[in-house]
C-alpha cells in the first residue's frame, strides 16, 4: 500500500507541475491583448456547481483555474474572466469529491457527495435517511462509543440506558448464563407467548416451525419469541443471538425504531419495532491500527440465598419430626455436623471466572479505495464452573469508489463455541443439605453418594459428581456472512442503492451424559446398557437478502421533497437433524460412535423455507424546514400469507412541526429548540408459524395397506401406501396487524444543556394468529387449525431527560445527568375461544398450582399474577383462610377464586445515571429502576411451606410457623413434606412488591495525555475499570438466579490505536 501511496503522491506532484506549467503559459498569454487571440482564451466562462444527488446549487464551492481560486455564490454560480480554452477547471468542496473538467463557456458541474454516515441525530431506518427536522418518526440513535463506555462486553443490557423503550426482561431462572439470550422487546408485548400459541401434540413434531433451530435462524427465533423486535445488521435481517455474538467494538451505532412512521416501510416485519445495528466502516487516511482488550472478572451473586447451616437444618428437621422412628439417621447426621461438615453448597459449582477479550482492527486507504480488517476473540466465562462462550470474529472490509458509484463489501466469519457447565443446574446445589460433604474424606475427590438412607436404602446423590465426569453440553456454530452494497449517485436528485446479503450458519449441539452420571444412578442391572445418552443436533440456516432502493430529493425554494421507493426480497432456508443414542459403557467413551443404539428410531428432523417480497414507497415534504408531512406505503407478499390474503398493505402518515424555526419564535437563552411530531399507521407481524394456510398430508412410512394381506410380490410395491391429513390450512388467514399511534416532543433548553424527549404511544395488535379450539370430533387431533382473533393493546409514555450540568469544553470539565423511563400499560382487548380454554386448562388440578399460571382475561395484562385471595393463617386451626369470589371465607383453595394479585411488569421502569469528565479522567455511574411491579415469591412457597425436608430449605423456614391454636403466624405449621401434607397453592400471601434499583455500571476511565501518547506513538489510549451489577436495593425477597446464578463483573480495559 505504501507503494500505491508513493505513486499517487508522485502523480499528484506531476499534475501540479503540469498545472503550473500551463498556468505559466496563461501568464504569458495575458500579456497579449485579448481580442487579438480570440481562439486561445474564453473571455468569460460561467460555472454552475450543483450537488449531484439533490440537484441543488452548492454555494462556497472552490473553483480553481490554474492557480486562480474562485468561490461560488449562494446560487452556486461563479463567473470567471479570461480562461484558457485548453485549461482545466478543478472544483472542490468539503464533503464532496473534487472534480476536474475541461473549460467550456458554460459549465455545469455536479459534485458527488462523499458517502459518509448520517449524522448521529439524523433519522435512518436502514432504508432511507432524513434529516432530524424532516421526519415524524420516533426513534433513538445510540452511538457505539457511548455503549462501550458503559459496557465493553455486551451491548444488550445497557441499551435500555439510552433507549428506555428497549426492554430487557430479567430472567430469574437463567440468571447470568452467558449462553441464554435475553428476552427483549420494544415498548410492550404485542403477542401471546409462543408456548400458548403453539400447543404441543404428543408424539407429533411440529413441521410449521423449525425443530431445534440454528441459533442464527431468525425466523424460528421470532416464532418462539414473538415479542422481540426485528434485528437488522447493516440492513440485513439476523437473529438476536447473531448480534449478541458480534464484537461490541464493531458497533458504530444502534437505532431503535419505535413507531409506524419509522417502521411502516418494513411492512409486515415492523410491528414489534426494529433494532438497527450499523457496524463501523473503515475511514480513509493513514493506516490506523486499533487494539482493545478487556479482562473481566465475574463473581457469583448469591446474596439472595438464605440457607440454613448444618446445625440449623438439623434442628428444623428434628422439630418437624423428620427423624421420628429413624433416630439412627439423626444421630448419624448430628455426628457429621459435629465433625465439622457444614458445606456451603452454593460454592460447589460456582467460581470466580476470568474472561478476556481482544480486538484488533486496521483500516486505511483513500477516497477511492478504503479497506479494513478486524479480528476479535471474546471469551466470556460464566460463574458456573465450565460454563463459557467463546466467539472469534474475523472480518474484511473493502470500500471502492468509481465515478458516481460506491461499492462496499464486508465479509465476516464468526466462530462461536459455547459450553454449559457439566455441574448441571444451580438449583440442584441450593437444595442440598449442609451436613452432607461432597468430598470423599479418603480420596479427596467428589463422592457419588452423599448419604445412604436406611432402612429404605434411598440414596442421596451428589450433583457435583457429574462435574468431574466427561459430561458435555456444547453448542458451536460457524457463520459466514457477506454484504455487498452499492450506491449510485445518478444525478438530478436521484440516488440508487442496492444490497445483497448472504449468510450461512452451521450449528452443532452435543449433549452427552456419561453412564456414571447420577441421572442413571438408579438404573437397574437389566438397564445397564441403556445408561449414558448422547444427543447430537446439526442444524443449518441460510438467508439471502437483496434490496434495491431509489432516492429522490428535490429542493425548490422552501419546498423540500424526499421520495424513496424500494423493493426487497428475502429467502431463508432452515434445517436440522438430531439423533439420540443411548448405552455407553464407559465415561471415557464420550463420542457419538461409542453409543450402543439409537434411543429413537428416527432422527428428529425439521425443515422450513420462507420467502418474503416487500416493496415500499415513502414521500416526505417539508416546507421551509418548519412543517413536514410524510407518508409511507408498503405491500408485502410472504410465504406465510395464505391463499386469499396473498398481499398485505401497510401504511403510515406523519407530521412534524419545528417550532423553533417559526418567525414568532425568538431565539432566546432559555428555549433552544422545540419540535413536535406524530404519526399513525399500521405495521404487520410475521412472528407466527409457516404453512398455516396450507392443507398438508404426510405418508405413512412404515406401513403399507395391501389387499392381499401379506407382503406379496413385487407387484404390490407402492400400491398400498397410505396418506393422512397433517394440517388443514386456513386459506383466509391474515397476518396480524399493529395499529400504531405516536406523538412526541423534543425540547432543548438553555443552549442545549437540557434535552428532553417525551413520547406517548398506543399500539393495538389485532388479528393475532391463534389456534382454534376444535372439538375432537372435527378430526383435528394432531394438528391445529389457526385463525385470526384476539387483540392486545399497549399504551404508554416514555421520556428521556439529559442534563449537561457543567459543560466547559475549554477546561474539559463535563458533568451530565440522565434520567429516563417508560410506562407501559398492556392489556388484552379481545379473546378467542382457544385462549379461554387455556385459562380454564391452566386452572385444572393437573397443572402445578404451586406457582402462578397465566390467565388471559379481557382488559387485563398478559403478565398478571393470578392468585387466590388469602386472609392469612387462621390462628385457631393453622390453616390458610381464603376469600372466595362470592365474598365468603373458606379453608378450601379453589382455582376459580383466583384474583389479579399483581403484575410482573412494572408500571415504570428505566434508568438514571451520571457521567463526569475532568481533564483526562471520566467516570460513569448508571442504575436501572423499576416501580410498580409484583412478584410471586416462589422461595416462600417452595422452600418454606411446600418444602420437602429431605432437602434444604430457606432459613426462614423455622420462624413464624404456626404451631398451636392462638398463634398468629405468617406461615403454616412445619411439616416433613409440606407439599404432601398440606400444599400451598398460589396465594396472595406470597405476592410481593418488586420495586428495586439495581446498579448497572460504575466505571472510571483515564485517557493518556497527548504528551505521553506522542511518546509511545499512540492515539486515543484509554484505560478503564468498570463494575457491572454491583448492588441491588429493594425488590423481592426471593432467591434470584435459580438455574444459573447472577453475577457481578469487574472489567479492566485498554483501548489504543496507532
Amino acid at each position: 500500500m505504501k507503494k500505491t501511496k508513493l505513486l499517487f503522491a508522485i502523480g499528484a506532484v506531476l499534475l501540479c507541475i503540469g498545472h503550473t506549467a500551463r498556468a505559466g503559459e496563461n501568464h504569458v498569454s495575458q500579456v497579449i491583448k485579448r481580442d487579438s487571440i480570440p481562439f486561445k482564451n474564453y473571455p468569460r466562462i460561467q460555472v454552475y456547481v450543483k450537488d449531484l444527488s439533490s440537484d441543488t446549487a452548492l454555494p462556497k464551492a472552490l473553483v480553481m483555474v490554474g492557480k486562480r481560486r474562485f468561490y461560488t455564490n449562494d446560487e452556486g454560480y461563479v463567473v470567471i474572466d479570461d480562461v484558457n480554452k485548453n485549461g482545466m477547471l478543478n472544483v472542490s468542496k468539503i464533503g464532496y469529491l473534487s472534480q476536474d473538467k475541461k473549460v467550456e463557456p458554460t459549465i455545469v458541474i455536479r459534485l458527488t457527495k462523499q458517502e459518509r454516515d448520517v449524522a448521529l441525530v439524523d433519522f435512518t431506518n436502514g432504508l432511507y435517511q432524513r434529516p432530524l427536522e424532516h421526519t415524524a418518526a420516533a426513534y433513538t440513535v445510540i452511538d457505539g462509543a457511548e455503549i462501550r463506555k458503559v459496557n465493553a462486553i455486551s451491548f444488550i443490557n445497557v441499551l435500555r440506558y439510552f433507549a428506555p423503550s428497549f426492554i430487557v426482561d430479567e430472567d430469574n431462572n437463567a440468571g447470568s448464563d452467558p449462553n441464554t439470550p435475553p428476552a427483549v422487546k420494544i415498548r410492550g408485548a404485542n403477542n401471546f407467548p409462543a408456548k400458548t400459541t403453539i400447543p404441543a401434540h404428543p408424539g407429533v413434531s411440529n413441521t410449521n416451525v423449525q425443530l431445534n433451530p440454528s441459533t442464527g435462524d431468525f425466523v424460528a427465533s421470532n416464532v418462539y419469541n414473538p415479542n422481540q423486535p426485528v434485528v437488522l445488521l447493516n440492513g440485513v435481517q439476523v437473529a438476536l443471538q447473531s448480534v449478541l455474538d458480534l464484537d461490541v467494538n464493531r458497533i458504530e451505532r444502534i437505532v431503535v425504531l419505535k413507531d409506524a412512521a419509522a417502521t411502516a416501510a418494513y411492512g409486515a416485519r415492523g410491528g414489534n419495532g426494529v433494532l438497527l445495528i450499523q457496524t463501523l466502516r473503515p475511514k480513509p487516511g493513514m493506516m490506523n491500527v486499533t487494539y482493545s482488550g478487556q479482562m473481566t472478572i465475574a463473581s457469583p451473586d448469591v446474596s439472595s440465598y438464605h440457607l440454613p447451616d448444618a446445625a440449623g437444618k438439623l434442628n428444623l428437621d428434628a422439630a418437624a419430626g423428620l427423624y421420628t422412628g429413624n433416630d439412627p439417621q439423626y444421630q448419624n447426621r448430628l455426628k457429621q455436623a459435629g465433625d465439622g461438615v457444614n458445606t456451603n453448597w452454593l460454592k460447589v459449582p460456582t467460581r470466580t471466572a476470568m474472561g478476556q477479550r481482544h480486538y484488533l482492527s486496521l483500516e486505511g486507504g483513500d477516497n477511492d479505495i478504503a479497506y479494513g480488517a478486524d479480528a476479535s476473540y471474546n471469551d466470556m466465562e460464566g460463574v458456573m464452573k465450565g460454563s463459557n462462550r467463546k466467539n472469534i470474529n474475523i472480518g474484511g472490509f473493502l470500500n471502492v469508489h468509481v465515478g458516481n458509484v460506491f461499492l462496499t463489501n464486508y465479509l465476516a466469519v464468526t466462530k462461536s463455541t459455547s459450553a454449559n457447565s457439566p455441574y448441571g443446574t444451580f438449583s440442584d446445589y441450593a437444595k442440598q443439605n449442609a451436613f452432607w460433604d461432597p468430598i470423599d474424606p479418603v480420596t479427596h475427590e467428589y463422592r457419588k453418594t452423599l448419604e445412604l438412607q436406611l432402612p429404605d436404602s434411598f440414596r442421596y446423590f451428589n450433583p457435583a459428581w457429574n462435574g468431574g465426569l466427561s459430561t458435555t453440553s456444547t453448542n458451536d456454530y460457524t457463520r459466514i456472512s457477506d454484504v455487498l452494497s452499492g450506491i449510485w449517485n445518478v444525478g438530478y436528485g436521484f440516488k440508487l442503492n442496492g444490497r445483497i446479503g448472504i449468510s450461512k450458519q452451521s450449528d452443532e449441539v452435543n449433549f452427552f451424559l456419561p453412564p456414571s452420571h447420577i441421572a442413571f444412578a438408579n438404573f437397574s442391572v437389566d438397564s445397564f446398557f441403556k445408561r449414558g445418552t448422547y444427543t447430537q443436533i446439526a442444524s443449518e440456516f441460510m438467508s439471502v437478502d437483496g434490496n434495491l432502493n431509489l432516492d429522490y430529493t428535490k429542493k425548490i425554494n422552501r419546498h423540500q421533497f424526499y421520495v424513496t421507493t424500494g423493493i426487497m426480497a428475502q429467502q431463508t432456508n432452515s434445517q436440522s437433524a438430531g439423533i439420540d443414542l443411548a448405552g455407553f459403557t464407559s465415561d471415557k467413551l464420550s463420542d457419538l460412535a461409542f453409543g450402543n443404539a439409537y434411543a429413537n428410531t428416527r432422527p428428529a428432523a425439521g425443515k422450513i423455507k420462507t420467502r418474503l417480497l416487500s416493496t415500499f414507497g415513502n414521500l416526505a415534504y417539508s416546507y421551509d424546514d418548519r412543517y413536514l408531512l410524510e407518508g409511507t406505503l408498503n405491500t408485502d407478499q410472504s410465504s406465510q400469507f395464505s391463499k386469499n390474503n396473498q398481499r398485505v398493505m401497510h401504511w403510515s402518515a406523519g407530521a412534524s412541526w419545528n417550532l423553533h424555526r417559526e418567525r414568532f419564535f425568538q431565539p432566546n437563552a432559555i428555549l433552544s429548540s422545540l419540535r413536535i411530531y406524530g404519526s399513525v399507521g399500521t405495521t404487520g407481524n410475521l412472528f407466527y408459524q409457516s404453512y398455516l394456510g396450507k392443507t398438508t398430508f404426510n405418508y405413512l412410512t412404515g406401513r403399507q395397506y395391501l389387499t392381499t394381506g401379506a407382503s406379496g410380490g413385487l407387484s404390490t410395491r407402492d400400491v398400498g401406501i397410505g396418506t393422512y391429513l397433517t394440517g388443514f390450512g386456513n386459506e383466509n388467514l391474515k397476518a396480524p396487524e399493529t395499529q400504531q399511534q405516536n406523538a412526541g416532543l423534543d425540547v432543548s433548553l438553555l443552549q442545549n444543556r437540557i434535552g428532553l424527549t417525551v413520547n406517548a404511544y398506543r399500539n393495538t395488535t389485532t388479528n393475532l394468529v391463534l389456534p382454534v379450539a376444535s372439538p375432537a370430533y372435527t378430526g383435528f387431533q394432531d394438528f391445529n387449525y389457526y385463525d385470526n382473533g384476539a387483540a392486545i393493546e399497549n399504551k404508554g409514555l416514555e421520556f428521556d431527560l439529559n442534563v449537561h450540568v457543567i459543560r466547559d469544553l475549554r477546561k474539559k470539565i463535563l458533568w451530565s445527568v440522565r434520567v429516563n423511563g417508560i410506562h407501559n400499560e398492556n392489556r388484552v382487548t379481545a379473546l378467542n375461544d382457544y385462549l379461554q380454554t387455556v385459562t380454564v386448562n391452566n386452572d385444572a388440578a393437573a397443572i402445578d398450582q404451586t406457582q402462578p399460571q397465566a390467565r388471559y382475561v379481557t382488559g387485563e395484562s398478559l403478565t398478571g399474577i393470578w392468585a387466590v385471595q388469602s386472609l392469612g393463617i387462621d390462628a385457631a386451626t393453622g390453616k390458610e383462610k381464603f376469600l372466595k369470589a362470592d365474598g365468603t371465607e373458606t379453608f378450601t383453595w379453589d382455582a376459580a377464586d383466583k384474583i389479579l394479585a399483581g403484575d410482573y411488569a412494572p408500571k415504570w421502569q428505566g434508568s438514571f445515571g451520571t457521567s463526569v469528565t475532568v481533564k483526562n479522567w471520566s467516570a460513569d455511574f448508571y442504575c436501572f429502576y423499576q416501580y410498580g411491579a409484583s412478584y410471586y415469591n416462589q422461595t416462600l412457597a417452595d422452600k418454606i411451606e411446600n418444602a420437602d425436608l429431605k432437602y434444604n430449605v430457606d432459613s426462614r423456614a423455622l420462624d413464624n410457623r404456626w404451631s398451636q391454636p392462638g398463634d398468629n403466624a405468617l406461615y403454616k405449621a412445619l411439616s416433613v413434606n409440606g407439599l404432601k401434607a398440606d400444599p400451598t397453592y398460589v396465594t396472595t400471601r406470597f405476592v410481593e412488591k418488586n420495586n428495586y434499583i439495581s446498579n448497572a455500571v460504575v466505571a472510571v476511565r483515564y485517557t493518556l495525555p497527548k504528551s505521553i501518547q506522542n511518546k509511545i506513538r499512540s492515539k486515543n489510549t484509554v484505560i478503564g475499570l468498570a463494575g457491572n451489577n454491583l448492588f441491588r436495593s429493594g425488590g423481592m425477597t426471593a432467591e434470584r438466579g435459580i438455574y444459573y446464578p447472577f453475577n457481578r463483573t469487574y472489567t479492566f480495559s485498554l483501548t489504543t490505536s496507532f
Binding site: 431509489l550 409457516s690 396450507k694 396418506t723 372435527t778
Partner: protein, 461 residues
C-alpha cells in the same frame, strides 16, 4: 446522463410493479409435508387416502386392539379370567367401569381416531367432487367415492353403536355429531336414528357406485356394503330389510362357507379369512402386539379351559368344532390361558397374521336367523343355523321346530354363536348392547359389573 435517467425510470417501474409478478415465488410449500394439490393430482392419491384410513383403523387404539381383542372383547365377554393383579384397564374394563381414567382414555382415543378417519374421508370425498378430471374413468371415480362413502358409514355406525344408547333403549336423543365436510367448527349432535338413516342413505349410494363381484375382503366392497346394511338394519330394528340384505348375500354364494376345516389345511386359515366380507389387513404383527399387551402384565388374561369346554363342547357342541382352535393355544398345550390361535395362524404360513375380521358371512346367517326367529319362523332359523354348524364340524341341532320353547332357546343359541364365532372380535358386545341385555344376564356372572353400569361409551370432553 440521459442514459442514467432512463435507467432510473425503468427501475422505478420495476420497483413499483415488481411485486405483482412474484405471487408464485412467495408461494412456498412445507418441505416436510405433502401439499394437498400433490396428493390429489391423480387417482392414486385418493387410493392413498383410503389406504391411510385403513391403516389408521388398524391402529391399536381402534380395530388393531381396542375395537377387536381389546376393550370391546373384554366387554363382550371373550375372556372370563381376569385376575385382580392384571392390568388396571382389564380389571376395570371388564367391570364396565367407564369412569376409570384408563378406560376413559381408551374410549377417548376411539372417539378421536374414528373421527380422524372420518375427517380424512370427508376431505377425500370433497376433493373427488372438485377434481373429477384426475380420474381415469367414471367407474374408477365411482369406485373411490363408493368406497369412501361406505367406509364413512361403517365408521359412523360403529361410533353410534359405541357412544349412543341402543335404539331399543333410546333412538331419538341427540348423541353424536355427524360431519360430512372437513371443518374446524363444532357441529350439533344428531339423534341415533338420524345418524343411522344417514348411514343407510350413504350405503345405498355406495351400492350403486361400487362394482359387483369383487370378493377382495380387505377393502370395503359391494358385498361388504350389503353386509353392513344387513347389520345396520338389524341394529335399527328393521328386520325386513335386515333379512333381505342378509339373504341376498347368502343366496349370492359369492362368499361361501368353508367345507373342510381350514385350520387343518396346509395354508392354515385360522381366522377363516375367506369367509370375511370385510376385513382389515392391519399390517402389524397382531401376535406380537397381543403378546405384549394382553400377556405383558404380571397376570395374563384369557378364557379358562373349563369355560372353553362349556362354550364349545357342552350343550350341543363338539370338541371337533373348528372354531375351538380360536382359543386353543399355540405349541400343543391346548386349553391353557394363552394366545387365541386365530391370531397366530399357522406358524409356517403368516398370511393372516394381520387380518382383523370386520364382517363375516356367518353374521349374515345369524342376522337372517334372528329375523326368522323373531317372526316365529323356527324352521328357517334352524336351517340357517344348521348350515353354519355343518360348516363348523358340528352336527345339526336336535331342536325341533315344533317345540314350544324353540324361540327362546334359539335366541340363546344365536347369542352363543356370536360368542363362539366372534371371539376376540368384539361383535358379541354389540349383540348384548343391541339386545340391551341386563348386566347380570351376561355370560360368566362371576365377572363383577359396577353398579350403574351402562353400554354407552363416554365421549371425551
Amino acid at each position: 446522463m440521459y442514459k442514467g435517467k432512463n435507467i432510473v425510470i425503468i427501475l422505478f417501474v420495476i420497483i413499483v410493479t415488481g411485486g405483482a409478478a412474484c405471487k408464485k415465488w412467495v408461494d412456498v410449500d412445507a418441505p416436510l409435508q405433502v401439499n394437498e394439490k400433490t396428493v390429489f393430482n391423480n387417482e392414486q392419491g385418493f387410493r392413498d387416502v383410503l389406504n391411510g384410513v385403513y391403516l389408521k383403523m388398524g391402529d391399536s387404539t381402534l380395530y388393531g386392539r381396542a375395537l377387536s381383542y381389546g376393550l370391546v372383547s373384554l366387554l363382550g365377554r371373550s375372556y372370563d379370567t381376569i385376575p385382580a393383579t392384571a392390568k388396571n384397564l382389564f380389571t376395570q374394563g371388564v367391570q364396565y367401569n367407564f369412569q376409570d381414567p384408563e378406560v376413559k382414555a381408551v374410549m377417548a382415543n376411539i372417539w378421536k381416531g374414528m373421527y380422524q378417519c372420518i375427517a380424512n374421508l370427508n376431505y377425500a370425498l370433497s376433493n373427488a367432487e372438485s377434481k373429477r378430471e384426475v380420474f381415469s374413468s367414471e367407474s374408477s371415480y365411482n369406485a373411490i367415492k363408493g368406497e369412501a362413502l361406505g367406509l364413512r358409514a361403517f365408521l359412523y355406525f360403529d361410533l353410534v353403536r359405541l357412544f349412543a344408547p341402543a335404539p331399543v333403549v333410546d333412538a331419538n336423543s341427540a348423541t353424536i355429531p355427524y360431519i360430512t365436510q372437513l371443518s374446524h367448527y363444532g357441529s350439533e349432535a344428531l339423534p341415533t336414528s338420524a345418524v343411522i338413516d344417514s348411514c343407510i342413505d350413504n350405503l345405498n349410494t355406495a351400492l350403486t357406485l361400487l362394482p359387483v363381484g369383487d370378493v377382495t375382503g380387505s377393502s370395503l366392497t359391494n358385498y361388504g356394503v350389503q353386509g353392513l346394511l344387513a347389520r345396520i338394519y338389524l341394529y335399527k330394528g328393521d328386520l325386513v330389510n335386515a333379512r333381505t340384505y342378509a339373504m341376498q348375500l347368502i343366496n349370492s354364494k359369492a362368499i361361501p362357507l368353508y367345507i373342510t376345516n381350514p385350520t387343518l389345511s396346509t395354508s392354515g386359515d385360522f381366522i377363516f379369512q375367506k369367509e370375511q366380507l370385510f376385513s382389515l389387513n392391519a399390517n402389524q404383527n397382531l401376535l406380537r402386539s397381543y403378546l405384549k399387551y394382553m400377556l405383558g402384565g404380571t397376570s395374563p388374561i384369557g378364557l379358562n379351559p373349563a369355560s372353553q369346554t362349556a362354550l364349545f363342547v357342552t350343550g350341543g357342541g363338539s370338541a371337533n368344532d373348528w372354531r375351538k382352535t380360536f382359543v386353543d393355544s399355540v405349541g400343543g398345550t391346548k386349553g391353557s390361558l394363552k394366545i387365541p390361535t386365530k391370531l397366530t395362524g399357522n406358524t409356517q404360513y403368516y398370511n393372516n397374521f394381520h387380518v382383523l375380521p370386520l364382517i363375516r358371512i356367518t353374521e349374515m346367517y345369524y342376522i337372517a336367523a334372528e329375523c326368522a326367529n323373531t317372526s316365529q319362523d323356527s324352521a328357517t332359523t334352524i336351517a340357517l343355523m344348521d348350515t353354519v354348524r355343518r360348516h363348523r364340524g358340528l352336527l345339526n341341532y336336535t331342536i325341533t321346530p315344533t317345540s314350544g320353547v324353540t324361540r327362546d332357546s334359539l335366541s340363546k343359541e344365536i347369542a352363543k354363536e356370536y360368542q363362539k364365532e366372534f371371539l376376540g372380535e368384539g361383535q358379541a358386545f354389540y349383540y348384548f348392547k343391541r339386545k340391551n341385555t341386563p348386566f347380570n344376564k351376561l355370560p360368566y356372572p362371576k365377572l363383577p359389573v359396577v353398579p350403574g353400569a351402562s353400554y354407552v361409551f363416554i365421549k371425551p370432553e
